[in-house]
Symmetry: C2
DNA sequence: GTGAAAGCGCTAACAG
DNA sequence: CTGTTAGCGCTTTCAC
């Protein structure tokens, strides 16, 4: 019965068709389903993996936005997982969770799953993950807080490519005097990488780049107030912003000055593809695709597992551009590129994938 | 070893303290963790349950909003689950998924979990769930599309209470001529229930209720255009809206007329606690707490499981009011909604999209 | 073609 | 106090 219901041709072939028929009939007459937990035991586990998402306080506005992204990541993971017949056990961890609070997590990470996908672990969890890695446990870190410390086993966005792409968009519109709202040297690492990307394509395009200092921790309206007077005095025609808040703030500043997008300037922002204000132009945005990141993480996890490894070279996911009013996007730079243009492409799927039962 | 590591006092007591010590020491020296999948086998499964979330197309704005809610529900489930030491296996199902597409889902629902939480199943999935229920499988339906058909085993929001609460808020401000943007008889069922709740408290407060017809499927700006002229002709001082779009649309209409909230009118909306427009007043909103719904669903699941039952009477979760500018909320009405309502406005987070990775 | 049996890692009951 | 053992539901190998 086991062999027949496994569905694998090599086995089923060995039985008399009548027997096969009979077994299958009664199986679904009885509503039989194989117990996934038991089935993983004999052969080593390959069915369940763990996903650790980031937990944030409840009942705040930020919670709400938070899940919009986190959920998109999870959706990507789930989608890819369903294609491979593996199932996620989902948990959350607070970034500041201490060792004690991590105990339940450890139960599941080391409790029989074939691997774990973790989104931006805090330091204690990161430490635990490394110890597991050393034990040969399979771990994939998504968006580690310090990418330098994860040369292997991580998935991150290609921040340099974000800035580079933004620059190319501005260049395409003939903009040559670029400006960036900048949080100063204390700006987070990814911001710096994005800026570097922009500088790269500025050089390529022969454009100048001017940085407009704005205070850290300010909101979009605040940025407007700080930025508008600075912009008014300078002669810039292309604008870039390294994150969603400064993207919106920069747009507000331009609106305040009465500048018209497309005519007076072009603006490319980051991570604000879904932002919209009533009767305001939408912002052309270069974004991380959390969904695609999820897919990549899961695929990486499964492939490494199938090869019996527990390490893989860190993968950078390419950004996507969402065209909008502030900077029209030519077809050749449009967001369809990602799958083909990857920094370090994951190995093409090996032939003997995995029999889908 | 098994007995000692189980940690149960009744067992551990029986061993010599030295032995206990020795066993524990070597266990964590070896980094031993019990295999959760194997441990569930002997005694019947009580560790893993399934969660089926609603799947929507990728890469749309709606996806983004979608996960904000879906994720909040999941977060509630996970939070409650971690307190009970049970773990969710998360899957998604498209509302229109047909029988074939449901096959993988069935593997997990009937594959050894102790129960399943499903959010708004489509008809084919609903049919399958009923068959499982009949088999004694534990199923909890969250937000069923037709609550009448789930007298047992469902968790839903108390829509009547939403309208009632909104009415009391208007009454508290001495408003007596109420108006509602109404999508007509074709308005979805929950809308009708909310309206009934409002009518209930209108009777209580001796207020009149006028319905302003707006076309179905219109957006917030559209509602403004339709509603403003109607409002201009009528003498209403209290406004209610049954969903987020009409809440925002109603606010826009009032703004267009130059009405000032608190002086000329009060507005209570629904499901728009997190909405904000630049320099616009925020809307006092009566909301479903998805997070709390998640907690309730999980608790219900576990309690029914522990009692060895597979049925329970459908639970209605009480709404929460989020106070804002359009209708200040008195303490006694804030406390009205169970269990512990935060009568404080949600933090004015700097439109914080997400923390920088 | 088909039946039997040895585990997978664990729990829980049962002898001592 | 400690050791042994019979399963849990399944996979997979090995006889016949």
């Amino acid at each position: 019965v086991s062999l027949i219901l496994s569905g694998r041709e090599e086995y089923v072939r060995q039985f008399h068709p009548d027997t096969v028929e009979k077994v299958r009939k009664s199986a679904d007459r009885l509503g039989y389903r194989t117990n996934l937990f038991a089935s993983g035991l004999p052969s080593k586990a390959t069915t369940f993996f763990a996903v650790v998402l980031q937990e944030v306080g409840n009942r705040e506005v930020s919670t709400w936005h938070h899940w919009a992204f986190e959920g998109d990541l999870l959706a990507g993971i789930i989608q890819a997982a369903s294609e491979r017949n593996v199932y996620p056990i989902v948990a959350t961890a607070h970034p500041q969770a201490d060792e004690a609070a991590l105990r339940p997590l450890e139960s599941i990470i080391a409790g029989g799953v074939f691997g774990t996908i973790v989104r931006t672990p805090g330091p204690p969890l990161e430490k635990y993950l490394r110890s597991q890695l050393k034990r040969g446990q399979l771990v994939v870190v998504v968006f580690p807080s310090r990418i330098e410390s994860w040369p292997t086993n991580a998935i991150d966005v290609d921040n340099v490519a974000i800035g580079r792409l933004a620059g190319r968009l501005l260049a395409h519109h003939g903009r040559s005097r670029w400006g960036v709202a900048w949080f100063g040297k204390k700006g987070a690492d990814p911001h710096l990488l994005r800026l570097n990307g922009l500088l790269e394509s500025a050089k390529e395009a022969g454009a100048s780049v001017e940085m407009f200092q704005v205070p850290l921790g300010i909101d979009d309206m605040g940025i407007r107030e700080v930025l508008a007077p600075k912009l008014a005095q300078r002669d810039v025609d292309g604008l870039f912003a390294v994150d969603s808040i400064s993207s919106v703030g920069t747009l507000y500043a331009c609106l305040k000055l009465g500048w018209e997008p497309g005519r007076d300037y072009n603006l490319v922002g980051c991570d604000c593809a879904f932002w919209e204000g009533p009767s305001l132009p939408k912002i052309t945005s270069v974004d991380i695709s959390w969904h695609e990141t999820g897919i990549t993480a899961l695929n990486q996890l499964c492939e490494v597992m199938q090869q019996g490894e527990s390490q893989f070279e860190t993968v950078l996911v390419q950004p996507r551009v969402t065209p909008a009013a502030t900077c029209p996007v030519p077809a050749e730079l449009a967001g369809d590129s990602p799958p083909s243009v990857r920094a370090s492409a994951p190995a093409p799927t090996p032939a003997g994938e995995r029999e889908v039962v």
